[in-house]
Subunit: 261 residues, 2 copies
């Protein structure tokens, strides 16, 4: 299971302020606590920087990698920002994300190939966000087609089946879980940011944790989460233990001993 | 989803003492808090009473039903105790449990039929507790055969696929979840007491909650749990919401408003 730490994102007010003020210590602290909590990748997102996004994202890449020896998940809708960030990045990044929209793939996939990066394939196409598991599966096939034409290895791809809120459509949790099962039949890895499932509902962390464990039992390979939250960490390690993905429960026991649960 | 409240069980010291002293107020309080927390059935188990089990179980049935208007889950290995308890019980009880062992079924199934009770079919046979999902499925088919020969309606049966600890066999969580999926293809309902999954591990409630939510997403119909525990209640209502089993999330929202999560 790959854990991508989600905390360095300018949609959080404290991060937006730190990026604006170029407060490296604040960003480094966020990187360190996530690394200590068990993150395998640190997500960096400066989406609210608007026209300054390329330089802000570059600053985030350099600042985070100056203090933790981890690869990053470069999270941006802006190909120019991704390009600048990738050039400065050490190791094999995850690019978040391409979609099945040909124009976006055309710009980003050559960069993914050039830098031997991993890439998140978001299950979205020209028609928007799919409603059913089967629609998500069809889009994953299109992404596999686009990436293989671009010469990208299958194992570099992580499909994000796009979690939608259950508050507006009660079937969205079930359809997402079914989509994971279907997409894995293609031999593709899956990734998800899960918190959208609880949008509009109270006790969001409780719902997110239940969803995360359930997604792990159907084979979710990677999650973009706040691993410093003990409820979320418990959902990860408990999920792996009940899914038969933690031999002798050794990771669960280690996480408990380290005070992470 | 049927919730069977598990708290009135003499394996808990306070309950054993209350049964021994015939402290009706203590038992009634346990019944009331479970009913208020949303239990649909109250489990009564006086297994540690040994040769006094029939009269103790009868006392529990009468005491609980004198204060809550709920049917009970009569939980005993002793056919004599079950017989006495059923005769005093109001409504349609759940008998917990028969197995695929013919001698046990021969004694209990006529009682189930006579009292129009529901019955838990424990996925255990002469060979003991199964290891794989497929073995559990085969035993469920034997139980279906035994019950239908005894003239018991299919909808009265709840198969307990028998949760085993992941600490001693890492595959047991996954095999149980797969067993639920298989058994439901027979058109049978499923029930489980989940806490055994975490036997021998720390932070048991965290693991039990993750397992409960995951089991609900694969279709678990009933659970024998402590619904007064907010972590367990959250796992139930969050599990139903993400499984597409709670239209408009109305039960989740109601449980939250009532302070149950």
């Amino acid at each position: 299971m790959l854990i991508v730490g989600e905390r360095i994102n300018t949609s959080r007010k404290s991060i937006a302020e730190a990026v604006k003020a170029k407060n490296a210590d604040a960003i480094k602290n966020e990187a360190k606590i996530q690394a200590e909590a068990g993150a395998n990748y640190i997500d960096v997102n400066s989406g609210t920087s608007l026209d300054k996004e390329p330089q802000d994202l570059l600053w985030l890449v350099e600042t985070v990698q100056s203090c933790v020896e981890l690869p990053l998940c470069i999270d941006s809708p802006n190909p120019e920002a991704i390009k600048v960030a990738l050039a400065a990045h050490k190791g094999e990044a995850i690019i978040n994300s391409v979609t099945a929209e040909a124009n976006r793939a055309e710009v980003l996939l050559p960069l993914v190939k050039e830098y031997s990066a991993n890439v998140v394939g978001l299950a979205v196409d020209e028609k928007g966000i799919p409603k059913t598991a089967e629609e998500r599966f069809e889009i994953a096939k299109k992404i596999l087609d686009l990436t293989s034409k671009a010469g990208i290895d299958k194992e570099k791809i992580l499909i994000d089946a796009v979690v939608q809120p259950v508050s507006t459509d009660s079937n969205q949790g079930r359809e997402f879980l079914k989509a994971i099962t279907l997409i894995k039949t293609l031999g593709l890895k899956t990734i998800a940011g899960l918190s959208n499932v609880s949008f509009g509902l109270p006790n969001r962390v409780g719902l997110n944790a239940a969803f995360l464990s359930s997604a792990i039992t159907v084979g979710l390979d990677a999650a973009i989460i706040d691993i410093t939250d003990k409820k979320i960490a418990t959902a990860v390690y408990a999920g792996l233990a009940i899914a038969g993905r933690d031999e002798y429960c050794q990771n669960y026991l280690k996480a408990f001993r380290e005070g992470k649960l």
